[in-house]
């Protein structure tokens, strides 16, 4: 993998937020008579905030293995909520670290993290708006 390959253009084909994915949580909420959607999203907001802070701490320590694990967790959570672009970014970051490429690891991980932070910021806003409207 080369440094030039990691740009936001590569992810243009992925939707930031696929709202349809949340229908299942709305239905679960109706069936259980609980606010499933809110609980799911609040937990996501909380854990993602923690994940971002942990990404930063592990990057400062050059702990790329832990970064790959955090990417793995965020990959699962974002995929579950229909955040396609974030899901793909996390998948690529995890794979990049596991590939044990010696090609500018720190620089490339930093590029991935920058894109992930931007996308997280955007999708958090989109999900918040969706929750308000729901």
């Amino acid at each position: 993998m080369t440094t030039t390959a990691i740009t936001s253009d590569k992810y243009n084909n992925f939707e930031s937020f696929e709202a349809k994915k949340l229908d299942v949580f709305i239905q679960l909420g109706k069936d259980l008579d609980e606010d499933v959607l809110s609980e799911m999203l609040y937990t996501y907001f909380q854990t993602t905030e923690e994940t971002i802070q942990n990404f930063k701490a592990h990057f400062a320590n050059k702990d790329f293995k832990s970064i790959a694990h955090l990417a793995h967790k965020l990959k699962s959570s974002s995929g579950q909520l229909g955040l396609q672009k974030l899901h793909q970014l996390c998948t690529d970051l995890e794979n990049f670290v596991h590939s044990e490429s010696s090609d500018n690891v720190e620089l490339n991980v930093n590029k991935y993290l920058t894109l992930i932070f931007d996308e997280t910021h955007l999708t958090t806003a989109l999900l918040s708006n969706f929750l308000k409207a729901a």
Binding site: V24, L28, L32, M40, H72, K73, K75, S76, S77, Q80
Partner: protein
Amino acid sequence: MSVKNILVIDDNKNDLLMAKFVIKRLGYNPILLENPKHVIDTLKAYPISLIVLDYEMPGMTGLDVLKKIKKEQVFNHIPVVMLTGNSTDTTVKNTVMVGAKDYIVKPIDPTIFETKISKIMKDNIQTEKNEWIEYEVQKNKNTEIKIYNYSSIISIGELTLTFHTNQDYPVGFTFFSDSKLFEELEIKNPALKVESSTQTHTGFAVQCLMLGLSEAELKKIRLYQKLLHSQKAS
């Protein structure tokens, strides 16, 4: 019958939450565990019917946890479903070889999750039914009733059945009997509710209430008792 517990072990709070809601909708009780190190303590604390286990966790991988469970004789019969972020051949092979029943690929699709869990729980109930208490009733020349495998009938009343077994059963526990006795009497297997379980020097005497019997079925049991009585007397 008490609600069955499903244990979910995952360090990802979002996945735990999703699993919780789906399991609740299926009518089971979810028990959630973030730290896999506490798995054996949790299994000791609750009767668990199914374990859903994440493959990739820090500190102790899902595979390590699975091996640990399979080493414990008391718990190694509990079916385990693995959650995996990737479905590569190696991952699937590893989980199946160590004894996982199935696997679900993350991100968890609630519909797939629900379908797989539901199927395994139903299969599990059937296995319990088949393996647990087998009322192999055989009437020999002396009209004694002998039950093989796990239990022997002590008495059968109009509404109660008392049997001797090497296992204790919780009061209130309800199960269905596959007894050939009922088959012979052409009575559809009645639900048996445990009324009392008393320890004897060789095991446990369990008294059950037979539920849902019709008047015709009760009549058959009365006739059966009469027959037993007369055969014993002669």
